[in-house]
């Protein structure tokens, strides 16, 4: 067996040598571009090489006795050294490599290396990561462990794919970059490491090197800024085909996509199949017929309950702060739970472990700055800050969405005293910070903090002349329209690698989501004695959610065929929601608390010579408010039919205990808030998901198709209606219960690597709800989009990145009045009312737009560098319809379209010290 392996390795190496030019995978050395005007070759090869060396000022190393046997009869005119060498090697049956000192070694294809050549080769190997020397293996069936980091910053890299050359079966690094590979054939095998946004790295095991605690350093695409010609061909912008319904994206690479104001990771995900891009004013993820609240968003392990800035136009996450984001569109594993639709797992950067670095971005929307660096010997830190400011672009978005967002507090027009003091103040900010400490090689402690807030102040103080206020008595009016929302979250994580097989990840976290709104009018009167009386009218709304969690995940690599993951999660939720009117009694005052206890167990199994990968797991939750156990069995499978074709499928049960419900408010705009299920009026939501798919992938292209089906129960809608009842008129909390299903097919064709990359995505989907309160008939959900088609094209040319995205989505359903009428009320006001026959029976026109962007990258990695970008959003100014407004005029129902954003240009500037 060892002998066979030896032969196999030797054959593999030979194939490697003969099939690839020695430097085909490496950055081109400048000396290869040196050109000769005219050279006539007619003597022996050794003499001609000496002549060329003199002409081009290069140094050759070759076996003179061997090359003397060959006569060169070739003329070169304006040819570079690469061409000349290719011709000489062909004629003399040689190959060449460039050593560390730029000496060009020319070696016979079957020649035995001299010690000098071997040394030069080894140095070249370590520099170029290409093995040129064959070594005799000494150990077989070895286990290899190590860690993968970014070469520039020292950041550990999670989810890096680790493969053994010529073998099936892969493993991935864990959240702290650690990996263990079992059953590596020999200690001379080659490991390859690939991750989105990074060039593929190869590591050559050697009998003379240790097999544990390897340190693999990977190059980002930014490192390769000046080496784009060849190296960048290996950089992928995202990885889709690793697990069922999983997409992995590196935020660095979304910088080149066109954006409105801010590059945004969630917006980039919306360009993928199965994730709707038709909700222009929502950065939330509508995944496969699901709603944003059905997506679990984890930021460094803690749950984020609100992901939106500026009415949802931007996500709450500063993309500069993110290291990697993984999205599961469905079929997610047992370690994730509490949501019906999808999971977004975000890891933030840990900070540069080698050097201090700082930088910033400036766009027409916000300013963004960061600083990072090592803290002492074993620690690093990073902090990000982003804040919006008012520009014409900000105002354009603000005006578009605030005016249509229920902000209709009565506003006095200009009175006899001149203009009112209406200073709308609105901004958002967010801060990310992370501190990482590695006291030992096996322990990592990490503290992550996030705070983000939106403040919208539409308050108005009508201008009242001072003479009215100075006589001892007077009055004041203040109309308040103040909305605040945001998140604060923190997690403290301890990762420990106990040995090559056991890894644990323990975390305690806190997450708080708050949203409050004060829409009221204060009328303050001061009498002659100076006493003030204030009358407050309006509404006060407050939603405050707290999440305290503790969890431990354990990963046990039993052997090559089994990896067991188990763990527990305990969460305590405290959710308060109140709604008060006229600073008197609270109309709604909900306060719910509850523990969620979860344990999970899953096994990743490799079968059929690693062709079949199964993940079978179960998640069990005891939900304190309902005093019930919830079982969630899940199965996930991929089967490699050939090297290129893969079948995949998953089936599973999913429950959701905390829900976001929309409070329908006719007069002041609908608002949403979080509540805990109680299994009384608010059931625990449940989904049964099935996914089946097929993919074909080679080194350049990926074609992926997945069909999905979700059956949903325990859905909730909420209405706060002012209703006549026998005892009078009351506000009634109505939780409407419903069911639904979503199904569809996602298709993706991607060109993965090269200067020209991109993809075409198509989704055929259907999302249907059934709420008995709206009648017995099923209706299409608000987020139902039948066809969605996206094209993303990226082209890299020298230091320029060009991009274009086109989106088409068929119209979303909407409710239209079947009739209308007016009633004159006793106080002589006339009010229009509409009657509705069926919910969501109509369709808005199709949504489409084209965005383009160009980015110029300047400077070099390691010294000052950055980029200048221009984005043109909705370049042909398509007037996409957001919703319709209705009014009655001349006994006719008039419908007016309210539109999304038209053509919007944007500029961005980025600079980094290193």
């Amino acid at each position: 067996m060892p002998k066979q392996l030896l032969q196999k390795s030797a054959v593999t190496l030979l194939c490697f040598f003969t099939s690839l030019p020695l430097f085909a995978q490496q950055p081109r050395n400048e000396i290869l571009d040196r050109t000769v005007d005219k050279v006539f070759c007619f003597r022996s090869a050794d003499k001609e090489l000496e002549k060329i060396a003199g002409l081009l000022n290069v140094k050759f190393n070759f076996n003179q006795a061997r090359l003397k046997q060959y006569t060169l009869t070739k003329d070169f005119h304006d040819d570079n050294l690469a061409t000349i060498l290719a011709a000489i090697c062909k004629a003399t049956r040689s190959k060449y490599f460039i050593a560390e000192d730029n000496t060009i070694y020319i070696i016979g294809r079957r020649e035995t290396y001299t010690p000098e050549v071997t040394l030069a080769l080894q140095k070249a190997e370590s520099r170029e990561q290409v093995r040129l020397v064959y070594e005799e293996p000494k150990k077989f069936r070895v286990t290899v462990t190590g860690k993968v980091t970014d070469i520039s910053s020292g950041e550990p890299l999670p989810n890096v794919t680790v493969m053994i050359d010529g073998q099936r079966g892969i493993t991935t690094t864990n959240v702290d970059g650690y990996f263990t590979v079992f059953n590596v054939p020999s200690d001379t095998a080659i490991l390859s490491f690939s991750s989105v946004g990074y060039t593929v790295s190869r590591y050559f095991l050697s009998p003379n090197k240790p097999l544990d605690s390897l340190h693999i350093q990977m190059l980002t695409s930014r490192n390769a800024l000046n080496e784009v010609v060849v190296v960048a061909k290996k950089v992928q912008s995202f990885k889709l085909n690793q697990k069922v319904s999983m997409i992995k994206m590196t935020p660095d690479l979304i910088a080149n996509l066109p954006s409105v104001g801010e590059k945004d990771i969630f917006r980039s995900f919306q360009l993928m199949p199965g994730i709707s891009a038709a909700n222009e004013n929502s950065s939330g993820l509508y995944v496969r017929g699901g709603t944003p609240d059905q997506s679990l968003v984890l930021f460094d392990g803690f749950t984020v309950y609100n992901v939106e800035h500026l009415f949802g136009f931007f996500s709450a996450f500063n993309s500069n702060a993110l290291k990697e984001v993984t999205l599961y569109k469905g079929g997610f594993e047992s370690k994730y739970g509490g949501r019906l639709s999808s999971v977004v797992d975000i890891n933030s950067k840990e900070g540069n472990k080698k050097n201090f670095n700082a930088g910033g971005d400036l766009s027409m929307m916000s300013v963004n700055a960061f600083a990072e660096g090592p803290i002492g010997k074993n620690a690093s830190g990073i902090i990000f800050f982003r804040k919006s400011f008012r520009t014409s672009l900000y105002n354009k978005i603000f005006d578009k969405y605030s005016s249509d967002n229920g902000s209709n507090t009565p506003r006095p027009t200009n009175g006899p005293f001149g203009s009112n003091d209406q200073k709308t103040k609105s901004f958002f900010y967010d801060i990310n910070g992370r501190f990482t400490w590695k006291p030992t090689k096996k322990d990592v402690f990490s503290l992550s903090i996030y705070n983000g807030k939106d403040k919208l102040d539409n308050s108005i103080i009508p201008a009242i002349p001072s003479f009215l206020q100075s006589s001892g008595r007077g009055f004041g009016i203040q109309i308040t329209d103040l909305t605040n929302w945001g998140n604060t979250g923190s997690s403290l994580k301890w990762s420990k690698r106990w040995n090559e097989k056991v890894f644990t990840n323990s975390l305690i976290s806190y997450s708080n989501y708050f949203s409050n709104r004060d829409r009221s009018s204060d009328f303050t009167r001061t009498d002659t004695s100076g006493n003030e009386t204030t009358i407050k009218r309006g509404t006060l709304e407050d939603n405050n959610l707290k999440d305290y969690s503790i969890k431990t995940d354990v990963e046990i690599k039993v052997n090559k065929k089994h990896t067991i993951e188990t763990g527990y999660h305990i969460t305590y939720n405290d959710i308060k929601y109140s709604y008060a009117q006229n600073d008197t009694s609270k109309i709604i005052d909900r306060s719910t608390q509850g523990f969620t206890y979860t344990v999970f167990l899953q096994d990743k199994i490799s079968l059929l010579k690693d062709k079949l990968q199964l993940i079978a797991g179960i998640r069990t939750t005891y939900f304190d408010p309902t005093k019930k156990l919830y079982y969630e069995p899940r199965l996930n499978a991929t089967l490699e039919i050939t090297d290129k074709i893969k079948l995949k499928g998953s089936a599973g049960q999913y429950y959701q205990f905390a829900k976001r419900v929309i409070r329908e408010d006719i007069l002041q705009g609908s608002r949403d808030f979080w509540v805990l299920a109680d299994n009384d009026r608010l059931p625990v939501a449940s989904a049964r998901q099935y996914v089946a798919g097929l993919s074909w992938e080679n080194k350049d292209f990926l074609v992926d198709v997945e069909g999905y089906c979700k059956k949903l129960t325990g859905l909730s809608e909420y209405s706060l209606r002012f209703q006549p009842t026998p005892g009078g008129l009351t506000y009634t909390e109505n939780f409407f219960q419903g069911t639904g299903y979503a199904r569809g097919i996602d298709l993706l064709v991607q060109k993965k690597i090269g200067n020209y990359t991109g993809w075409v995505a198509y989704t055929l989907g259907e999302a249907v709800n059934n709420y008995p309160v709206y009648g017995s008939k099923k209706f299409y959900a608000n987020n139902d989009v039948r066809h969605e088609f996206k094209i993303v094209q990226l082209y890299k040319w020298n230091r320029f990145d060009f991009s274009a995205t086109f989106i088409y989505a068929s119209g979303r359903p909407y409710t239209a009045p079947s009739g209308a009428y007016s009633v004159t009320l006793p106080d002589s006001t006339t009010q229009s009312y509409f009657s509705v026959s069926g919910k969501n029976e109509f369709r808005l026109p199709g949504y489409h737009r084209l965005d383009i962007g160009v980015t110029y990258n300047f400077g070099d990695k390691g010294s000052g560098n950055g980029s200048i970008g221009v984005s043109l959003f909705n370049i042909y100014n398509r007037q996409n319809v957001w919703y319709k407004n209705y009014e009655i005029s001349d006994n006719t129902i008039i419908a007016t379209d309210v539109k999304y954003l038209g053509f919007t240009p944007n500029l961005t500037f980025t600079y980094r010290l290193k």
Partner: protein, 264 residues
């Protein structure tokens, strides 16, 4: 293996084909819209129109003529006759506080019914003071004008009934007031509530001269109309109505003896 692939592709095609099924639309007939506020001392009049249908181009009257409209009171049916303006009325039908009234008529082969009860008359409705001087704004010398104290309207409301307070100018040709902010400011609200008093600041008045303060005691079905609606495709819902098989409102109100305020 090819069979497995074929099966999956077939499954997907089935899903696709199923996904293309459409909702069945259904015909919609215009309903009758009732508008009636019956009150003691006034003849009963009910305005009945028809709903405007979506897609209909507005022309002609919406009034529904030729209906046999009956209001039942204390076991007696009273037929309402249509006057030249198209409103159905009956002057002989007594409207008594505390009594119930049931409306019924047939339209488009459907019986439309509605019931309401006449509330008691609000008592002890008063306002102090009964005169108000609008400050003479405009700057100049002589110091600032004095800002009048708000008027305070009070009434009895032991049962927590809903009330609606309106102001109506009763002088013909009264001149309009320019107020801070113009029109009705935040100190005055038309929305009904269950209080027994309301402060009215000078900005609530639109005209100089005699203004009547009209206090309505209303039923919950009318209060609900002030808080319902929705006018866009995101929040459109059918408004609650106490008219069965129809739309609109059939309710009763009772008005307190008016109080007059003089605005100078």
């Amino acid at each position: 293996m090819n069979k497995i692939i074929s099966c999956i592709l077939m499954l997907m095609i089935i899903v696709v084909l199923n996904a293309c099924s459409k909702n069945d639309g259904s015909g919609y007939e215009a309903k009758a819209v009732v508008e009636a506020y019956i009150q003691p001392g006034q003849k009963v009049s009910v305005n009945i129109t028809r709903e405007i249908l979506a897609g209909e181009s507005g022309s002609g009257t919406l009034t529904i003529s030729g209906l046999s409209v009956i209001v039942r009171h204390n076991g007696t049916n009273y037929t309402l006759n249509q006057n030249p303006s198209g409103v159905y009325e009956n002057a002989s039908l007594p409207v008594i506080a505390g009594d119930s009234y049931e409306l019924s008529f047939n339209y488009d082969n459907t019986t439309i019914t509605a019931t309401t009860t006449v509330p008691d008359k609000p008592t002890n409705f008063a306002c102090t003071p009964l005169a108000l001087t609008i400050p003479a704004f405009g700057g100049g010398i002589g110091g600032p004008p004095s800002v009048p104290e708000p008027l305070k309207a009070t009434w009895d409301n032991l049962n927590g009934d809903y009330h609606l307070l309106a102001i109506k100018s009763v002088d013909a040709g009264a001149s309009q007031i320019s107020t801070v902010g113009g029109g009705q400011g935040p100190g005055f609200s038309n929305a009904p509530d269950q209080a027994n008093n309301k402060e009215i600041n000078f900005r609530a008045f639109a005209y100089y001269g005699r203004n009547a303060l009209i206090l309505y005691r209303i039923q919950p079905e009318l209060a609900a109309m002030y808080n319902s609606g929705g006018s866009n495709s995101q929040n459109l819902t059918t408004v609650p109505s106490n008219v069965s098989n129809g739309l609109g409102i059939f309710t009763a109100v009772n008005i307190a003896d008016s109080v007059f305020v003089t605005v100078n």
